[in-house]
Symmetry: C2
Subunit: 219 residues, 2 copies
Amino acid sequence: MSDERALKDVLYQEFARIGKCLSSPKRLEILDLLSQSPKSVEGIAKNTGMTVANVSQHLQTLHNARLVNFKKQGNFVFYELADSTVSDFMTTFHNLSEKQLVQVQQIKKEFLNNNFEMDGLSLPELKKRMDNGEVLLLDVRPREEYEEAHIPDAVSIPIEELEEKLSSLPANIDVVAYCRGPYCLISVDAVELLKSKGINAFRLEKSVKDWMQFINQES
Amino acid sequence: MSDERALKDVLYQEFARIGKCLSSPKRLEILDLLSQSPKSVEGIAKNTGMTVANVSQHLQTLHNARLVNFKKQGNFVFYELADSTVSDFMTTFHNLSEKQLVQVQQIKKEFLNNNFEMDGLSLPELKKRMDNGEVLLLDVRPREEYEEAHIPDAVSIPIEELEEKLSSLPANIDVVAYCRGPYCLISVDAVELLKSKGINAFRLEKSVKDWMQFINQES
DNA sequence: CAACTATTCAATTGTTTTATTGAATAGTTA
DNA sequence: TAACTATTCAATAAAACAATTGAATAGTTG
């Protein structure tokens, strides 16, 4: 019977190895970043404001739990999620987190005191409006991520290039900007900029992943 | 732009609060226990081999992350999972864990060097055999859990009572014992005991929760 | 009201984890 | 081959955590 205790201890220790990966804010951020596209260590470091060595250590932890893999490309080491299971799991984790932590919603509202008109916009509705030529969909993420995957018919204008390319936008049409999902604020900045230039702009909270799921459901 | 950093930091810190709950083997064990049925602090302590104060502290952590709730009943405080979302999430978590940690499989095999013949037994098949009177299904968990929920037509014989009730079992029929799922070893002990008494016994890896899911799918 | 129970709280200890620094490695380019 | 780059490794200091103990609380029973 104390055999059972011993087994359980070992077993739950193994499970906790994965749990531990989710216990650090920075590691969660890394996982979310990687669920967008594979990235180099330095890329992650820049994106998260951590030192390279620190990122490397976190990636090691994630690798030990088999949550991420890496492939060497020239001088760079590109990390990616080990498996689509991991990405699905992260989605589930976010769902749970959001549901449980009411505070998260409040925090979001406090920071994003912008317009929320598009937040509830469903993807089928977006599709309809795009098909009717009513809106222009803008992907404001870095170009690599756009190239990795994007919502069909979306135009890639990374946030840095947005200001200079303003004039090339068609006039008299609503613009919808999206980035990596509800917790990424690139599109918020984009909408802010567009509005300050008198363009009717909205933020789409959804991500490419959401779009994929939507498409898979439809077919 | 450093506003964005600040928001992310706060946000991911909130997410990590849930993650931290999953980073301790003992807390995972508690969550699994509670996904079976609500339990008192002392009940959990006995079941996990921890001190009461220690369990209480872990439960507080879980409660802070809104993963568990409690209700007072007389002198006792009964804890339960906050939500079916939490229980679903734990299932997902186990799926991921098992998939990623190949070692877990190995550990299981090493310890459970018993028969695995029933492990792959699908629930519809079990149902068919039971309907045909080919097997007797035994629920060897503590009686409270049986009373909380059990697989229909299963007979409750808690492991402690099994030896004395051996004679009351019908002869010449295969016995299938189940408990809380693949990581609970009560049924392993039961099968061991039954076999030592010359009874043809098998272990079912599935749990009541699995049965519920199976039934819901069917209807 | 007093004795008793289950649980929680608070303080302490030893252990783990995190971020940081600077050096080491491996792969690339001139 | 030498200089350079991206990444990892190793050592450290600071912070967070887990388990333990014993006391405090709240609710129940005689």
